[in-house]
C-alpha cells in the first residue's frame, strides 16, 4: 500500500508534466490538425533556457527561492513562446494549404533542426540542474512520506492547467480558439482572425511546454538535448489518451499516463516502462481512437 501511494504521487507529479506538454500538442492539433513534432524539442529548449537563466542570473539568491523560481519559469515561458510563434511562421504557415504529410515532414525537419541547434550550443552531454532549488524534505501523509518537490510540481501544473482552462473557456480569445478548432472556415466568416488564433496557440502551447521543461530539470536533476522526443511522444500519447483536440482530455490523459507508467514501472517492469506507454498508445488508437473524452468521430480516423 505504501509503495502504491508513493508511486501514485510520483505518477501524478510526472503526469502533470506530461499534461502540460500534451496541451501544446492537443491545442495545435485542434486548430491545425497537425502533429507538431517539434513540440518535444521546444520543451527541451525550455529546460535548457531554464538552466542558463538559473546559472547566469542567480534569481533565487536575489529575490528568494519562491519568487525566483516563479520569475524564472515565467521568463522561460515567454522565450519559448516566442520560438514557438516563430516556428509556426517559418515552418508551418507556408504549408497551411498543403497536404498534411508536407506539414508533418516540415515538423520533423524543425525537430531535427532544434535538436541539433541545442546540441551545438549546449553540447551533447547531460547537463545537471542545481539540486538545491526546491526543498528536498518530505511530508508524512497517511504513513506515506511524500517529497515536497512532488507536491510543488503537481500543484504548479494544476495551477497552469486551471489558468489555461479559464482562459480557453471564459475569455474572448479562448472562445475564438475553440471556434477555430471546430470549424476554421466558419470562424473566419464570424470575423475571427484565424491567423491570430493560430499564433496564440503557438504562443500558449510552447509556453506550457517550456515550463514543463524547467520542471523536468528540477525533478530529475539532469537534462539532455535528445530528451524532448521521448517526452514528446509520451505527451502525445497522453493527448490521444484523453482525446486529441480536447483540452481537458489532455490534462486527464497526462495525469493518467503518468500514473499508468509509474505503476507499470513498479509492478510490471522498470525496463519496459517506455514500452508500456507506447502499448497504451497503440491500444487506444486501435480500440478507442477518439480517446477517453473525445466525441467527434467522423473525421478523426
Amino acid at each position: 500500500m505504501q509503495l502504491f501511494l508513493e508511486q501514485l504521487t510520483n505518477g501524478l507529479a510526472v503526469g502533470g508534466i506530461y499534461a502540460l506538454i500534451a496541451l501544446g500538442y492537443t491545442m495545435v492539433y485542434g486548430v491545425l490538425k497537425l502533429i507538431n513534432f517539434a513540440h518535444g524539442d521546444l520543451f527541451t529548449i525550455g529546460a535548457f533556457f531554464g538552466l542558463t537563466l538559473l546559472l547566469s542570473l542567480g534569481l533565487t539568491s536575489h529575490i528568494g527561492p519562491v519568487a525566483g523560481i516563479i520569475v524564472l519559469v515565467l521568463m522561460v515561458m515567454g522565450l519559448v513562446a516566442l520560438i514557438g510563434a516563430l516556428l509556426e511562421r517559418v515552418a508551418y504557415r507556408p504549408l497551411r494549404t498543403s497536404p498534411r504529410l508536407s506539414a508533418v515532414v516540415s515538423a520533423l525537419g524543425a525537430s531535427i533542426f532544434f535538436q541539433n541547434a541545442i546540441m551545438l550550443i549546449y553540447g551533447a552531454r547531460f547537463r545537471v540542474y542545481p539540486h538545491d532549488l526546491l526543498p528536498t524534505t518530505t511530508v508524512s501523509f497517511l504513513g506515506v512520506s511524500i517529497p515536497v518537490m512532488r507536491i510543488v510540481l503537481f500543484g504548479a501544473s494544476l495551477v497552469m492547467m486551471a489558468g489555461l482552462y479559464y482562459f480557453v473557456q471564459r475569455t474572448k480569445t479562448g472562445t475564438a480558439i475553440r471556434a477555430a478548432a471546430i470549424d476554421q472556415g466558419a470562424a473566419k466568416l464570424m470575423g475571427i482572425d484565424v491567423n491570430r488564433v493560430i499564433m496564440y496557440v503557438f504562443l500558449i502551447g510552447p509556453a506550457l511546454g517550456g515550463a514543463a521543461g524547467v520542471m523536468v530539470g528540477m525533478y530529475y536533476g539532469q537534462i539532455n538535448f535528445t530528451m524532448g522526443w521521448v517526452y514528446g511522444l509520451k505527451a502525445f500519447t497522453a493527448a490521444i489518451l484523453g482525446g486529441i483536440g480536447n483540452i481537458p482530455g489532455a490534462m486527464l490523459g497526462g495525469l493518467l499516463l503518468g500514473v499508468i507508467e509509474a505503476m507499470g514501472a513498479t509492478y510490471i517492469s522498470l525496463a519496459w516502462k517506455d514500452a508500456i506507454s507506447f502499448m497504451v498508445l497503440i491500444l487506444i488508437l486501435i480500440f478507442r481512437p477518439t480517446g477517453l473524452l473525445g466525441e467527434r468521430v467522423a473525421d478523426k480516423v
Partner: protein, 319 residues
Amino acid sequence: MKPATIINVLVVATLLVAPYWLNAYWVDVLNSIGIYAVLALSLNVILGYAGLFHMGHAAFFAVGTYTTAILNTQFGIPVLWLMPLSGLTAGFFALLVARPIIHLRGDYLLIVTIGIVEIVRIALVNNVFGITGGSNGIFGINRPELFGYVIRTPHEFYYLIFGFAAITVLLFLRLENSRFGRALNYIREDDVAAEGSGIDAAHYKLVAFVLGAFWAGMAGTIFAAKMTIVSPQSFTFWESVVMFTIVILGGSGNIRGVLLGAFLIVGLPEVFREFAGARMLVFGAAMILMMIFRPKGILPAQPRTYNLDFLAGPRGGGK
C-alpha cells in the same frame, strides 16, 4: 536513344566501375547508401505507392536483421540462405502488427508506427526471449559465401549490395507497372473511389505493408552480414526517419527519386563530415524548405502515360 536511357546507362556504368578508384572508406559509404537505397525502395512500396504514412520501417528491418543474426550464430546456417527466411519473418511480423492498425489514416498511422519501432527497440534492449543479446546485441555473424567465394572486403560487399539493389530496382519497376502497383496508386489518390471500383483497399494496403517488410527483412540479412555485429542502436526511431526522408525528399513513388534521395541523404553527410554537428542542422532546415518549395521531392513521381494511338485506328475514327 532517349536522354533518360543515356543517363541510366551512365549511372549504371559509373556504379560498376566506381570501386576501382575509391578506397575502402568511400566504398563503405557507398555500401551504406546501397543498403539504405534498398530499404527506402521497400518503404516506397508502402509510403510512395500506397501513400501510407509509415515511419516504423526500422522495426521490420530489425526483425530481419536479428533473424539472420540469431539463426546464423546459433545454428550456423549460412548467411545468404537466411535471406528469404529473414524476409518471411519480417513480413509475418508486419502482418501481425499492421493488421489491427491498417484502417488508421494519415498521422494516426504515423504515430502508431513510431510506437511500434520503439517497442521493438526496447524489446531488443531487454533481451526479449533471451535471444537478442540485450543492449550489446549479437556478434560473430559469419561472412556471406556466394558460390564458394567468401565476401569480406568492402569492395566485395559493394557488388553484393549493389547487385541486390539492382534486382530490387528491376522487380519494383515491374511492380510499379503491375495491376497491384496501379491499385496501390489508386488507393493513395482516393481510397473511397478505389473501393468503389472493386479494390479491396484494406487488403491491398496490408499486402503493401507485408511486401515492404519482406524486402526490408532481406536487406537486414545483408546488413547483418556486412556488420557482423548487430545491436539495438542500429534500429532507433531516427533510422526510420532517415528512410522516411529519403523517400519523401527524393521523390515519393518514383524509383529514380528514391535512389537519388539515398545518395543525397546518406552520402552528403559523409562528404561534409568535417562540419559534424552543423550538417544535421542544415538537414533539418532543408527538410522544411523542401516541403515549402518542392513538396513532391527532388524527382517527383511522373503521372502514368498510356499510348492511346490505337484508338485512332487505321480509318482515323478518333478524330
